[in-house]
Symmetry: C2
Subunit: 377 residues, 2 copies
């Protein structure tokens, strides 16, 4: 009787990108997990420094009230259209908890599961496996566009929740607002638009949940990890109709966001001037990095995120996995996915100008001596 | 299709005790949610003040490695016997996620649910409702002891997880180690021993998971909220066999504990000298408070927690709910539960000597003039 549920026993947990700690963390150029290369707002750091011992001692606001008010004001919504979460990941989990039907089966199947596109953020299917529900996968096109039958296939499978990360990970591709609206209208379940990377994009999806035509089945995810340099704080939030958000409030843990994250995150959100400066710097560097890598014959699509997906051309004299290892040996971490359609590419976080220069130098060197590590030249 | 699961739609979310914020928080004497009346360790506060902006910027250690090592050293366990969580509440949820079987039913029933005693921490059944599994309730005796058939009834109902809060909430009663071991051996599921209040108790249950006779089905919960004055930080951890803890690591969110909680919580754990001083002060005040209230004819059992449960005698000229309201009107918050077996009692957190004196004065005044607020005298 004290065996875990079959879905948990069989679970392959999510594999985060390497997170070196301590001294090692200070040595490496870390371009593998899409953190901001810039520190958070000085105002946010000041709030951290000035936290009272009393704020640690007392329970925080259960519903993160002030933080939700700050987010609502920023996005021109009402506070009851916001739920704050322990990282964006908690919001994703809550969407499953509240809307997806677990099956008691070892191999979950059947209606009430989740729909995803492929490739996508690899946590979605892990959350489904943890919850014990089915996953319906609709491949993206070669250019990482949505398959035109995405909503129909999700509906046919009876999906209760659909996940679209936009800008897309790991390509950085941004779907047009109209295409997203069309998907949301056609899909019968809750559509989660995961905007973890939207701070670096040309437009967002907030129009879907505002005004007279607001769609009640759209849940927008925002993260403080990338655009606000607060990955260590674990803070995200969800935006949607008051009804949908009310359901997620019921499903969350009683005090899901700590007092530090509420205060520091709120200060960061209110310092939009600083945030916008950071976003512009990342976008400028993204353009320069992409251009330089293209000159080195890498194939790179338009990215609206704080990373680029670089395809290694077949005749470059190395492969994506070898290049990943060569860079790692030199202390430069990027992300390699051993998955269909991605195994010839590297996902590279946009760093500071200095970090990007270092990356480019190391790539140039690795390309110039592709078999140096092999020992059989 | 975009309706929530039936169990979520029907859910009555957990009601936290009142948490006044801002100026109101500074005015009231807050003896309603069992926070420590003392600030956290000065070393922990120092770690908070010295957090680098870089620690906020980067993702934290996914498995809270250093914190788990500190807890393992403190409790004479191995680091793989520890899982850190976003408050103890997350650990409770993870036990359900990993071991309890959700039913697709509107009114969950059937095997694989949870077992609780009654009364108990009111979050357990809320978590079960959120998960969508059944709850088997075995009443405690009038003296808040375990019913002798607890394990048998849980087994008969096919419970996958049993919850015992020890010291007991809301009575403060401590079960003997032998009684707990007997329950753990007789129960066929995972027994969660919720030791949120154990820092104020005469003994703990760690002997159940240490040494050659360690029981593989026991999960011990620890919280930093009460004994370490860190309720605002949301930090708890679970202790058990490496196998059981490994299952919970798989079920948790990828980065479930933020960098601040890991660093500050670790510093607090390592400052045992400070913690023990605080615990002793609380125990001394608990004895004094209980004695004084008994002199005022309240009925109070032995408490091993940082609160006392005070029964209002029938002939005192007031009732528990009226006394709760009268105290609240004077700015003293205590906890009243409108539930069978509890409606004639108040749960009062042990405060500082000054806070306890104020409480006692206000109670004396309310008893002296029980109908003052009624206006019909």
């Amino acid at each position: 009787m004290s065996n875990p549920r079959t879905n948990i026993a069989a679970l392959h947990a999510y594999t985060p990108g390497e997170q070196p700690q301590g001294a090692e963390a200070r040595r490496v150029v870390k371009l593998n997990t899409n953190e901001s290369p810039y520190p958070p707002s000085p105002r946010a750091v000041e709030v951290l420094r000035e936290m009272s011992a009393d704020a640690l001692r007392r329970y925080p606001s259960p519903a993160s009230r002030e933080l939700c008010e700050a987010a609502a004001e920023l996005h021109d919504l009402q506070a009851d259209q916001v739920v704050a979460t322990n990282g964006g990941d908690e919001l994703l989990r809550l969407a499953l908890t509240a809307y997806a039907a677990p099956s008691s089966d070892a191999a979950p199947s059947g209606r009430g599961g989740i729909g995803v596109t492929d490739p996508t953020y690899s946590l979605y299917p892990v959350l489904a496996a943890t919850h014990g529900c089915s996953v319906t996968v609709v491949p993206r096109t070669e250019a990482f566009d949505l398959h035109e039958a995405t909503a129909q296939r999700w509906n046919d499978a009876g999906c209760a929740v659909g996940f679209v990360v936009n800008p897309h990970a790991p390509s950085g591709k941004l779907l047009g607002f109209g295409r997203l609206a069309e998907l949301a209208r056609a899909f019968h379940g809750v559509l989660v638009v995961d905007e973890a990377y939207v701070d670096f994009a040309a437009h967002d999806a907030l129009g879907l949940i505002r005004g007279a035509d607001a769609l009640p089945n759209v849940l927008i995810l925002r993260s403080m990890s990338k655009g606000y340099g607060l990955a260590g704080l674990r803070l995200g939030y969800g935006l949607g109709s008051a009804q949908l958000i009310g359901v997620l409030h019921k499903a969350r843990d009683s005090y899901n966001v700590d007092a530090v994250a509420q205060a520091v995150g709120g200060a960061a959100l209110r310092d939009q001037a600083y945030a916008r400066t950071v976003w512009q710097k990342v976008k400028d560097e993204r353009a320069r990095l992409a251009e330089t890598l293209r000159e080195m014959r890498f194939d790179i699509g338009d990215s609206h995120a704080n990373f680029v997906l670089a395809r290694v051309p077949a005749d470059l004299g190395t492969t994506a996995d070898k290049l990943y290892e060569a860079l790692k040996a030199k202390g430069v971490l990027v992300r390699y996915f051993d998955a269909a359609g991605l195994s010839d590419r590297l996902r590279i976080t946009v760093g500071t100008a200095e970090q990007n220069n270092r990356l480019i130098e190391e790539i140039a060197e690795a390309i110039a001596a592709p078999v140096a590590a092999g020992g059989d030249a």
